[in-house]
Amino acid sequence: MHFINELKTHIIEELNLEELTPDEMDIDLPLFGDEGLGLDSIDVLELILILEKYYGLKISTPKEGKQIFRSVRTIADYIAANQQQ
């Protein structure tokens, strides 16, 4: 759980979502689209940076990121799967 909270904190900080707390951030909430957080193409770039900066994972194109960045859970899954390798 600590890992998820840390990830949420990074997302909140790097994406300037200052009016949100990690607890309020539902792990399955869609990050993109009107039903979710409504993030945009700039946020995709910031999310790519989070993976690189804090988890040492490189994503080369924003396109590739689309699947990974659906929700906090999908990001966490991606990190877990790729860091163990």
């Binding site: 945009d40 193409s41 700039i42 770039l45 790519i48 194109t61 924003p62």
Partner: protein
């Protein structure tokens, strides 16, 4: 009242003046090469459109003392503006009593020097050479260029990112139309620097290979640098030669997103429509479009879709010249205005280098060969910028 263009001047990766640029355009010789101009992690790797002269050489060409600290943005601007000013024979026309203005577009002004200052300043607030920061603001290059040409009736600077140069031209025309000035030198200048290079890299829209505008395989833009200015005059002035009329200019804001264009190209469409409307023109009258065509997935999709929506199945000749020059940001509106006027004056269509496969979706096929003796009467030039600032200029033969 109609506005005549009586002089042009440009400097970019493909030439230090108009004649050199024309030769490169005709010879399909791109100016894109690996970065060499300044120290950077991208040096020797990332392809860019550098002007093939360092600051010392530029200063020498302009007969400026090499010890003087002048931003590259100002040096490039001086070079191109001086060519345009001379081309219109303005140095010999002092007795005409013209009220002359200078309006320059730039996206980062003297940042090429500021970034040196700031690196030192970060170590301690007392550090950093002040002469490297006093030219930071966008007005500095404009004033230095104007002073060199002896222009003081009206001097100002426009900054709307990548449409700055085009918007300077539109603003210049308005000043003449309203009788505020008789003649305006307008366009833009921008130098390559670490700030913009890394800025665009952080957006992941810089191609590691030579850019491929309007091609299905495009991955992004190559940054460039340079300057381009045109001399706008009242039709009743006694100008010695002309390139064409500035028939119309449109400036709109897509109001969609800070960096992205709407994929269907609503802003680009509105910009082109408004220019046609202002110039009282039909789509069939446009012979050639000098595309914004940066080579980014987003721009070329949006611009192409807008062209399809406006021109239908039979668009005019199309090409982006950015595979030659790179994307020169605040200067491209000026540089491409110069290219558009050369197309009219000499009946040319410039090739869109590095194109092989049309973009699935709009399927537009730009010109890939250098075309001579074409009937080019009316040319449209697009410049689209961050913040949705989108502009279209239309020039026509006299």
């Amino acid at each position: 009242m109609r506005i005549v263009v009586s002089g042009v001047g440009t400097v970019s990766a493909i030439g230090l003046n108009v004649a050199e640029s024309l030769r490169a355009l005709a010879g399909k010789k791109s100016g894109i090469e690996p970065l060499s101009l300044f120290e950077s992690g991208h040096k020797g790797k990332l392809p860019v459109g550098e002007v093939k002269a360092d600051n010392r050489m530029l200063a020498e060409m302009l007969a400026i003392h090499p010890g003087k600290t002048i931003s590259r943005t100002a040096l490039l601007g001086m070079s191109a503006a001086q060519e345009a000013y001379g081309d219109a024979c303005l140095p010999d026309r002092k007795n005409e009593g013209l009220r002359i203005g200078f309006i320059s577009g730039t996206s980062v002004g003297g940042m090429d020097l500021s970034e040196h200052f700031y690196a030192d300043h970060l170590q301690s607030p007392a550090k950093g050479r002040l002469r490297q920061i006093i030219s930071h603001d966008c007005g500095d290059s404009t004033e230095k260029i104007a002073s060199r040409l002896g222009i003081n009736d009206y001097i100002t600077t426009v900054s709307t990112a990548c449409s700055s140069g085009a918007n300077a031209v539109i603003a210049g025309a308005r000043l003449i139309k309203h009788g505020f000035l008789d003649c305006v030198i307008a366009g833009g200048t921008d130098a390559l620097c670490r700030f913009t290079l890394n800025g665009f890299a952080s957006l992941k829209i810089v191609d590691e290979y030579p850019c491929r505008p309007f091609d299905e395989s495009r991955q992004g833009l190559n940054l460039g640098e340079g300057a381009g200015y045109i001399v706008l005059e009242k039709e009743t002035n006694r100008y010695p030669q002309s390139y064409g009329y500035l028939l119309a200019g449109a400036n709109i804001c897509e109001a969609f997103h800070q960096t992205a264009s709407s994929p269907e190209g609503n802003g680009a469409l509105l910009s082109m429509q408004k220019a046609l409307q202002t110039g009282n023109l039909q789509t069939k009258q446009i012979d050639y479009i000098n595309l914004h065509g940066t080579g980014t997935p987003n721009n070329d999709m949006a611009e192409g879709n807008a062209i399809r929506r406006l021109f239908g199945a039979t668009p005019p000749y199309l090409s982006s010249t950015k595979a030659y020059t790179g994307h020169t940001l605040g200067a491209c509106g000026g540089i491409e205005a110069v290219f558009s006027l050369l197309a009219i004056k000499y009946g040319l269509v410039f090739p869109n280098l590095n194109f092989t496969t049309p973009i699935a979706g709009h399927g537009l096929i730009p010109e890939t060969e250098y075309g001579e003796n074409r009937r080019i009467k009316t040319v449209m030039s697009n410049s689209f910028g961050f913040g949705g600032n989108m502009s279209t200029l239309i020039f026509s033969a006299i």
